[in-house]
Symmetry: D2
Subunit: 131 residues, 4 copies
Amino acid sequence: MLPCDQEPKHHSLNTNDQNIAHVSDIEEIIQALRKFRDERDWVQFHNAKDLALALNIEAGELLETFLWKAPEQADVGSVKEELADVITFALLLADKYDLDVKQIVLEKMAKNAQKYPVEKSKGSAKKYTKL
Amino acid sequence: MLPCDQEPKHHSLNTNDQNIAHVSDIEEIIQALRKFRDERDWVQFHNAKDLALALNIEAGELLETFLWKAPEQADVGSVKEELADVITFALLLADKYDLDVKQIVLEKMAKNAQKYPVEKSKGSAKKYTKL
Amino acid sequence: MLPCDQEPKHHSLNTNDQNIAHVSDIEEIIQALRKFRDERDWVQFHNAKDLALALNIEAGELLETFLWKAPEQADVGSVKEELADVITFALLLADKYDLDVKQIVLEKMAKNAQKYPVEKSKGSAKKYTKL
Amino acid sequence: MLPCDQEPKHHSLNTNDQNIAHVSDIEEIIQALRKFRDERDWVQFHNAKDLALALNIEAGELLETFLWKAPEQADVGSVKEELADVITFALLLADKYDLDVKQIVLEKMAKNAQKYPVEKSKGSAKKYTKL
């Protein structure tokens, strides 16, 4: 774990809590993933494009757990493992670009809120281009 | 949204910090995603299988930001948005199965540590089946 | 093999050649795929949506042959097998909708020719929306 | 475009038909795709890895036509166009490696016939690893 003063952006937002720095759970996972990667000297392979390939490959394996099945028939253990792989590469890619996962998801949601205003999109599965 | 004291698993692990319950970053994002979804009455469409489809579709859009390009030529703004979409559906799927994201990623990493022992996999991009 | 007079659309276009009906190679592959499927009683699983899932899963496996590699490092034997799987599901899906593969590809090419006029797109990898 | 007599492998197998060389449907589509590509000077971008990316991206767009829908609700016009794009990149990739599409599909089917013997797989959607 990196000492807190090297990672100021991930401190707790709780300003009452001055003596204790919280590493967010996302940052904690990313740190574990970096460690795993670096022990194996794999950073050399982890260019952004191949990370995006890896993410797609794992997304395909996740999809396979649902193939020829009704949604509720998928094996949960397999979903769990394949989803873990997807998230692994998503976080490694976010880390590659030094993106703050919470921030980019919330920003995209704000953008989607404009594409999909509640009054137009409520109860509808249509794409925003067809609303 | 549930008050914090009903969500004990997401409390801070910091036991010195007794009065303040911390919702984890991941839980915070998931809560925002649920709110966005429920305002639009979209839970009816979000069966696990279609969430896995959506994740794959977004992964494909992320991949497109790298198409016909060297890794460093991808537009960072586009990567950011497409990655946000991927993470959105990954978290909605995790939430669907009530999975703890940190736990499943760390468990999968432990499993991968056995498939890819450091001494065999160091500096190698080979799949574990070929190590 | 179906008798020729039941499959008039796949006759040779060569009108000089009146006595010999040619089944196109695409039709020949599709007939073999149908036979394989029907011997196993699999048509019940092959709804269009799951065929599209299967195609994506196989496309992901094809992509894996290129992961962490330069394009020319992919194992050709693996590319061959995974590409065969992709084409299998593409043809089964075309067959599901009774689409004529040659026709739909040529029609899409005509449409792309308008999106990508030679004078604008020559030597450029830009998407038509950015030309 | 090569005249037919330079492409003997794609002649009709019909030996009664000595004077007329038939270019197979697949070869005809590939020739049209090559022409389209070369008019735009795009062969420089079409390395095998990026072709595999393009194929995955198009497969994702095809999948999107089924998102949040029952199989029969997909818009056929969209399926047609996205499937055409998938087949386009599948054929360009086959051409890149000089693979004979009919041959690789039939060879893979023969391999699958061993993984999925009729007596074990009839009426079952299980993966061969679970039969």
